[in-house]
Amino acid sequence: MYGYSRSIIRGVIVAVVGLLLAAPSLGGLKAGDRLPDLASFHLEGRLPDKLLGRVVLLDFWASWCGPCKASFPAMERLHRLYRDRGLTIVAVSVDEKRENMERFVKSMNVSFATARDANQKLVAAADVQSMPTSFLIDRAGSVRFVHAGFHGVQSVRKYEEEIERLLKEPPP
């Protein structure tokens, strides 16, 4: 009887250890990390040639996400306002179907760069916890601020404040 209980306990321990090993890394992309080389993730779409030396807003979105739809006009406004001062926006779609992404981008008529993470490798590496999630990266290529979700005016004010702050920093 005791041997039987021991087997169950052993099984539970094996299961817990297995789950811990199988669990995705809790790392992800967070403030202080370096922005990985986007080219290595083979994103669909054309990325801006030069990101280093620019303040980058890397946004993960999907056509099926309501707040993402609300965030696009705000990002377009930010892009028009700050692009000449050094802001680059890269909006990465996690849509599984290319046509859904294209339809969305066409309806939004935005001037910033859009790409699709077809294999969902970049978004997995970034380990975003909600949609949309955006990362503000400084001129040196380090993640400085992370925005989970889009909360209308409140988010826009925060973006403006942070972008202004990063634009004032000297290039590396």
Binding site: I8, R10, V16, A62, Q120, V128
Partner: protein, 83 residues
Amino acid sequence: MRRITSSDLIPMPILSRASLAAALPLLIAGCAAVKPWQREVLSDAIMQPDRNPMSNQLTDHVYFSREAASGGRTVGGGGCGCN
């Protein structure tokens, strides 16, 4: 007379210790977390339990007013039918 123990109820040859120990991790590992970027299908309108909130509100109001029935969904009240 011998007392019945739990080992009599679960015959060990059938459900061996090894198979039980092997099955447990498999059962637990069957739970999969859906990542935020994998929720395209879940976010589809057809997956929503409450696809027409206004219609449901009206139906609830009818149940509440005519049948003095309330609760079960979102309408509160004591079921007095006075609303």
